[in-house]
Structures are given as C-alpha cells and as structure tokens.
C-alpha cells in the first residue's frame, strides 16, 4: 500500500514536470495570447478526441440571445490522458465552463486553460512557458 501511494504521488510530481513542455504545437502558441484568459459558459457541439490536438467546438450565448461559435484546443489524446481525459470526457450537449487563452487576432478560438465538465470535474492545465 505504501509503495503504491508513493508511486501515485511520484506520478503526480511527474505530471507537474511534464505539463509545461508539451504545450507548444502546430503554431498554437504563436496564435494565442498567453497573457489573457477568458472564461465562458457554453454548450458543446463537437468533441474532437483525435490527433494532432483534441479540440472542442462549443456555442456561447450572450444576454441578447446571440450565439457565438467557439473552438478550444488542447493536447493530443495520449498526453491529455494524464489529466484523466478519454473518449467519454465530453459529448455534444454538455454544458461546460471553459477558460481559454484567446486568439491574438480576436477570432473565436482559444487554447484550453481550464475546463469544468457537467459532473463538476475540473481540469486545470498549467500556464505554458512563453
């Protein structure tokens, strides 16, 4: 039991060490403003659980009822597994609270920073290095 606990805790330590190094990919870092974070409530329309990056398409409704179509990307499935993600993590219709680093040019795209899924589970991705 003790050695299992140590292995798990060591895995968590490794996770912290790992998380920063895999951020930059496919020009993602250069497209997003890493000094800003926006939090939104939205409804999932697509959950693309695939390479090269998992990405979520979701609709955000403002007070007037206008709908903005957003997309947020994150790591590949094999890397995102370290945060407990799998093919069941999201599905169309899910209501989410999502925080992203937004597109530098103001388009409705972002890089995932934090996600709260309908079950209340929180995924916190550490801030990427500049």
């Amino acid at each position: 039991m003790k050695s299992t606990l140590i292995r798990s805790l060591t895995a968590l330590a490794g996770l912290l060490a790992l998380s920063v190094s895999v951020f930059a990919h496919h020009g993602s870092r250069v497209s997003y403003d890493l000094t800003k974070q926006i939090t939104m409530k939205g409804v999932v329309t697509e959950y693309q659980y695939q390479n090269p990056h998992i990405y979520i398409m979701y609709d955000v409704k403002d007070e007037s009822g206008n709908v903005a179509h957003w997309g947020a990307e994150t790591n590949s499935p094999i890397v995102q597994a370290r945060w407990g993600w799998d093919k069941h993590t999201l599905k169309p219709g899910d209501e989410i609270t999502i925080t992203v680093y937004p597109s530098k040019v103001g388009s409705t795209r972002g890089y995932l920073s934090k996600l709260v899924t309908p079950d209340g589970k929180v995924t916190n991705l550490s801030a990427p290095e500049q």
């Binding site: 003790k2 050695s3 606990l5 140590i6 292995r7 798990s8 805790l9 060591t10 895995a11 968590l12 330590a13 490794g14 996770l15 912290l16 060490a17 790992l18 190094s21 895999v22 930059a24 990919h25 496919h26 020009g27 993602s28 870092r29 250069v30 497209s31 997003y32 697509e46 693309q48 695939q50 390479n51 090269p52 990056h53 990405y55 398409m57 997309g71 990307e73 590949s76 499935p77 094999i78 890397v79 597994a81 370290r82 945060w83 407990g84 597109s103 040019v105 103001g106 388009s107 409705t108 795209r109 972002g110 929180v122 995924t123 916190n124 500049q130």
Partner: protein, 260 residues
C-alpha cells in the same frame, strides 16, 4: 521511506486536479526504489522515458555553422512548433502534413517514450509518437555501401564494452532534424552511443555528421532515459484527414481575424 512519504503528501496537497495514473507509471524526480538493483549492461530492454535539456532537438546550444545550401533550406523551413522567433501560425513542417517524422527527429520528444526490445540479431526501438519502430541490426553486418534513401535510415550496431554503438546511413533528405527545421542531406550519418549506467537509466549520446549541411559534426547533449516498468506504449498516429479537419476548424481560424 518516511521522508519520501512526507514529500509526497506535500505534492498531493499542492495539486488541484486528480489525473489518472493509467499505466503511465512514474517519471518524476522522486527517488526510485529500483535504481540500485543489479542490472545487465547489455540488456537495454524496457520502456524508457526520455529526458534532455534542449527539448525537441539534438541540442540547443552547440549547433555547428551551416553550409550556404543548408542555410537556405533552414530559412525556407517554417516551423509550426518550437522557438518563438521562428514559428509561424501556418508553417510548412512536413510532419504537420503527416509525412514520416523520420530519424533522428523521432528520438527527441520528451513527452513520448521509447520501448526497446532485444531479439537475436536485432534491437528494435518502438515509439508511440507516430507509432513507428526502427531496427538496429546486431548480426555483425556492415553498413550498406550505397543504400536507398529512406525516412529512418539503416542502422547497424555493435558493443564496445558496455556501450552500444549504432551507426545509421541511408537517409532521404526530406525530414527535418528537429522542430526548428534544421535540414540534412542524403549523405548524413548518425552515430549513437547508449550506455546503461544503472538499473533505471540509459545515457544516450548522439552525433550527426553531414558535411554538406554542417561544417563540423553536430555533437548532441547527453539524453537521459529512465526505465518505467509500468509504461505501456499507446498508439499516437498522425492522420492526414484529421490534420486537415483540425486545420480547417482550429488552426486557420485561430490565426485569421474575423471578417477576413
């Protein structure tokens, strides 16, 4: 034991989320229970996490001067990943179109492990990144004299004491050496030296020799590989149709101002 437990509890308190440990095992800096076990220096088998200080390249700091032709190719290569001063949102890295990542670039991604399998006459290295393997021939053969150009080359190895020395030739010139877009020619030769320094650790030193691209051999930093008995490689393929879909739905819109 108690001290490690105490440190572990501090780490646990500091962590907000609860990731699954999913057969990924441990790759952190905590002391290993198996490091000082006896080992066979000629047995490199197992799944190894790879670590380097330079990230996804042979080395950051001592890249030799490039020849004029290599410089021209380097300037034309537009990375989508890597150093901020070089990357552009819509680069031309062939790996982003799912061209084979090739050797030695496949060796440099620290987030992805290598699994080594030794069978008579061969050592096989498996990579979940791009889901490929390479063969190191250990049957005493010579390097081919006039090999066909390939993405991963032809590798021949032999033991010098406790060091596995591997030489690879027979490359095409279509792969990048790293995310930064360093080029190479078909005449490149790569030398690797593997040494298992304790039960849990392999040290890998690699040199790239390509006089048509680099005026001196490019001697890499020492990469450190650590054994993980619980690690199971997973499929991580590059799918051209998924790349296309991702590009249309995310990569291009992220870099395109609204109304354009």
């Amino acid at each position: 034991m108690r001290r490690a437990l105490g440190v572990g509890i501090v780490v646990l308190m500091a962590v907000v989320f609860a990731p699954a440990a999913r057969g990924q095992g441990s790759r952190g800096a905590a002391p290993s229970a198996t490091k000082d076990l006896p080992f066979d220096a000629h047995d490199l088998s197992g799944a190894w996490w790879r670590h380097g200080k330079s990230g996804s390249t042979l080395s950051r700091n001592n890249v030799p001067p490039m020849t004029p032709s290599a410089q021209a190719r380097y300037a034309a290569n537009k990375p989508g990943i890597g150093r901020p001063e070089r990357i552009v949102p819509l680069g031309n890295d062939p790996a982003m179109a799912c061209d084979p990542i090739g050797f030695p670039r496949v060796m440099f991604y620290d987030a992805y492990p290598t699994e080594i399998v030794q069978i008579p006459g061969r050592i096989l290295e498996f990579f979940d990144y791009f889901y490929v393997h390479r063969t190191i021939w250990m049957d005493g053969r010579q390097l081919p004299k006039d090999p066909d150009p390939t993405w991963y080359g032809v590798s021949v190895g032999h033991w010098e004491g406790d060091t596995l020395v591997v030489e690879t030739v027979g490359f095409n010139d279509r792969t990048w050496l790293d995310d930064d877009g360093h080029p190479h020619t078909e005449d490149m030769r790569v030398e690797e030296r593997y040494r298992r320094v304790n039960h849990d650790t392999i040290e890998l030193n690699m040199t790239i020799i390509d006089p048509k691209s680099y005026t001196q051999p490019w001697v890499g930093e020492t990469k450190t590989w650590t054994l993980d008995p619980k690690l199971e490689l997973r499929e991580d393929v590059c799918v051209p149709s998924d790349e296309e879909k991702y590009k249309e739905e995310m990569r291009v819109p992220a870099a395109t101002a609204p109304g354009k």
